[in-house]
Symmetry: C2
Subunit: 502 residues, 2 copies
């Protein structure tokens, strides 16, 4: 039995509000679309959170044997300041004006930054990374289709989605977010630049460009640019088909963005775009919402170099990744120095266990302990089962830490390695490694000159051993102190002396 | 006087076949367009060579004070197998078929690889990195313009550039490459799939897509895709204007690609696209052309990990960069193990001089040596003058090595540092650093755990010093030998003991 059959995956579908057994449209293949960044500012904690959770899902599906096509778009046009009303200035154009650059220079600058930090966080690169500005024809075709099917109207060179017509056709605008159209109607008003809409709840799928607007293209309705929501409909349809398997994003995107994607896809193709909608929860910082106005808006650059005033120290990308995985993706997560410092320690413990495990040599069976055998195999099994249970990473980490205890017990000699069978030992070694590195994507940091450092440290520890044998305590103490100053911890254990990097 | 005025730059213009004084269209600003990769295979030596030379030009212009907009495109559609005849299969579609991926997955895979290796080579990221598939509307508009102006004709859904009409208008197709249209006509024939052309020398600017073709878009002439040469005309015009300052590329692109860009731009806008055309020369391997059929086709991955059978060892990105800069961009370059090994040594010497220079402390003037003062300042001046002379990097390196001799002479105590003025010393320090790192883009490799390693090495060298003072030769020898084993060289000098990493 292959892994796909052995570990069927359940995912929480925002649309049905319950966990559902995942079944791909094409056997063995999965199409995933993740709403990527609007590239007008530096990537921040929110980007880390959203990507890490779905990255583990991607890695887990691939590990099980699925062929995944993972599409993460880049929004480089059409995302206006007021995204609910679809009003205000284009976010990238505005930043271009502020930084005195061409809009596409802004896009390049921030997409480079985004890719760099996602790489540092060990987020797998998407299979396809399409841009909104690179798919104008595809978006115009979506708008044409929606117009032809009567779910949109043109006013003065702009095209609006007609929510009332959509509702009259028996569809529900609000099915994903749970919003009620009547509430939306009474709760909102037409802001400046949106008076053309028949109803406040209608949204632009194509906007006429003002003469001073830089990012605009020819269309059957004159020069303009696509509405923000259209790009995801166009690009997911092009690269994943209609419908496709899984659409992910932050829960703040449920409305109006994802809600409108559903409406547009129904309007253009007469069917729903996605079988499983998945949303990650939000984050807080010391219990507060992250906001520039609150002075707690932390970019990944600041997090990794410790320069933000709220930070007591720098935190490595792997610490942030580990910390994020300690919380289930559907649960809110609170960042604080205490929590990150605890995560740093936890990560070190886990990675040390991995090193210990890889340094163990199995010699031979010696009075098999059936209970221990069973426990270890069940913990391995539980790593699979937790990830198959709506990507429950905290549960997987808990099982890995339970396994760590056994690993350390083998190392310390408290438990004889021979009390488990060679097969169980091999399973432990294989799956512990795979879960930590391949699936959770955790790895040791600072791997630059490690080989040289290792060579020198062997020498230093050897000199220290000699000094201790000669009872040359000043030298032995000096070595320990100077290493501590350099950030290297020496540990004397049963199996000899080892060191770890702080 | 600012640097731009002080060091006017001359560039060899392929169009005029001579060096010309460079004058930007807008004072203080430069627009540069470099033909980027067709992303259907791994980046190789040729990509390294082209990018490194023009990267130094970009860095030098920025250092002088210019604001540079550097556009490097990505060809992800329309580059057919036979690029002279514009015939055969699309290179990316073909690779997609072979690798069983969607064409845009191929594009993503190889653009990721390209970016990774360019980063390793310390090529500055372009200001804008536009894709051909992302600018279909812009390309259609170019084709429309050319049609309207009578320089193209439609046959069965494809549009061809009419070279004869172009010549009749008084323009010369061949002005860049020196080709004679009559020769082209008699030397070529209409291959399969190109019978529609009035003349063999005509080229497709829009191709009708066959039903099985994946990468195709709506156009006024039906579904199709743009001809390869059109993307550069469309994207350079969009992001740099018409005309713009500098167009670079490999000399193999002069014909038909760049020649056709000139014709298209004249056809669409009635003016020439570019003021300065620059082309880098080609490379050979052990004196032979690099070709898959000769078994000497070396990718950057193979070069950096030493896995190709022609390679005696791995060469680092900085060695390759240094090696490339030792040859002027317009001169052919021959890669061989001997030459790369010599470059590795040269780079180490240069970087060691940089370290030595940065470790020197100027105390006070002591019998000024006017000749030496003058020589050092002239060598610094010559670094500028050589780069201003058509980016003559080998000449700049020669001056830096002459400066190195003086630096080492100060270090060894052969020349008293006080024999040059503090001002000259400061100039030497500033400009030597700037030329090596900022302008030539060279840096020390292996910077991962250097801080830890440095801390431990201080301790080790301290223990060794103590051992020598105690005449504990066995310990002192052991330290030297073990460090050598770890790839670390200890050097005893006048100013104390230092180490270097092999």
């Amino acid at each position: 039995m292959n892994l796909i059959e052995k570990y069927p995956v359940e995912l929480y579908n925002t649309l049905s509000r319950k966990k559902e057994l995942f079944k791909p449209i094409t056997e063995g293949h999965i199409g995933i679309y993740l709403c990527g960044p609007t590239v007008y500012s530096d990537p921040h904690l929110g980007h880390a959170r959203g990507n890490i959770g779905f990255d583990v899902m991607n890695r887990y599906f691939q590990y099980l044997g699925y062929k995944v096509r993972f599409v993460r778009n880049v929004t480089d046009v059409g995302h206006l300041e007021d995204e609910v009303q679809g009003a205000g200035e284009d976010r990238i154009s505005k930043k271009a004006r502020l930084e005195k650059l061409e809009p596409m220079e802004i896009v390049q600058k921030y997409i480079n930054s985004y890719r760099k930090y996602m790489d540092m966080l060990k987020i797998l690169q998407p299979s396809i990374e399409p841009t909104a500005s690179g798919h104008i024809i595809e978006q115009i075709n979506i708008v044409k289709n929606i117009l032809e099917h009567g779910f949109a109207y043109e006013v003065n060179g702009s095209i609006y989605f007609d929510v009332m017509k959509y509702m009259e056709s028996g569809k529900r605008y609000g099915e994903l977010s749970g919003k009620i159209v009547e509430d939306l109607m009474s709760g909102s008003r037409n802001l400046e630049g949106t008076e053309e809409k028949k109803n406040p709840v209608d949204f632009a799928i194509w906007k006429k460009a003002k003469p001073e607007h830089i990012m605009k293209w020819d269309s059957p309705w004159g020069e303009g640019f696509p509405g923000w929501h259209v790009e995801c409909t166009a690009m997911s349809a092009k690269y994943l088909g209609v419908p496709f398997d899984i659409h992910c994003g932050g829960m703040d995107l449920q409305f109006p963005h994802h809600e409108s994607e559903i409406a547009q896809c129904n309007g253009a193709f007469g069917k729903s775009p996605v079988n499983y909608w998945m949303h990650n929860n939000m984050l807080t910082i010391d219990g507060q919402k992250m906001a520039r106005s609150l002075g707690n808006f932390i970019t990944l650059e600041e997090l990794f170099n410790g320069s933000h005033e709220k930070l007591e120290q720098a935190y490595t990308p792997m610490t942030v990744r580990f910390f994020t995985l300690q919380t289930h993706y559907r649960t809110p997560i609170d960042f604080s120095n205490e929590a990150l410092q605890a995560a740093e320690k936890g990560l070190n413990r886990l990675m040390n266990s991995l090193d210990v495990l890889n340094s163990l040599t199995y010699t031979k069976e010696n009075e098999l302990n059936q209970n221990l055998e069973k426990e270890i195999n069940e913990l391995i099994e539980s790593c699979f089962l937790s990830l198959s249970d709506d990507i429950n990473t905290p549960q997987t980490l808990a099982s890995l830490f339970d396994l760590s205890k056994h690993i350390n017990s083998f190392k310390d000699g408290k438990t004889d390695l021979g009390s488990i069978s060679k097969e169980t030992f091999n399973n432990l070694k294989k799956y512990f490694n795979d879960f930590v590195t391949v699936i959770l994507g955790l790895e040791k940091e600072n791997s630059g000159n490690n080989d040289k450092l290792d060579g020198v440290m062997k020498l230093v520890l050897d000199i220290r051993k000699q000094a201790r044998e000669n009872k040359d305590w000043p030298l032995s103490d000096k070595i320990r102190d100077e290493l501590a100053k350099a950030g290297i911890q020496v540990k004397d254990g049963k199996e000899g002396t080892s060191y770890s990097i702080n």
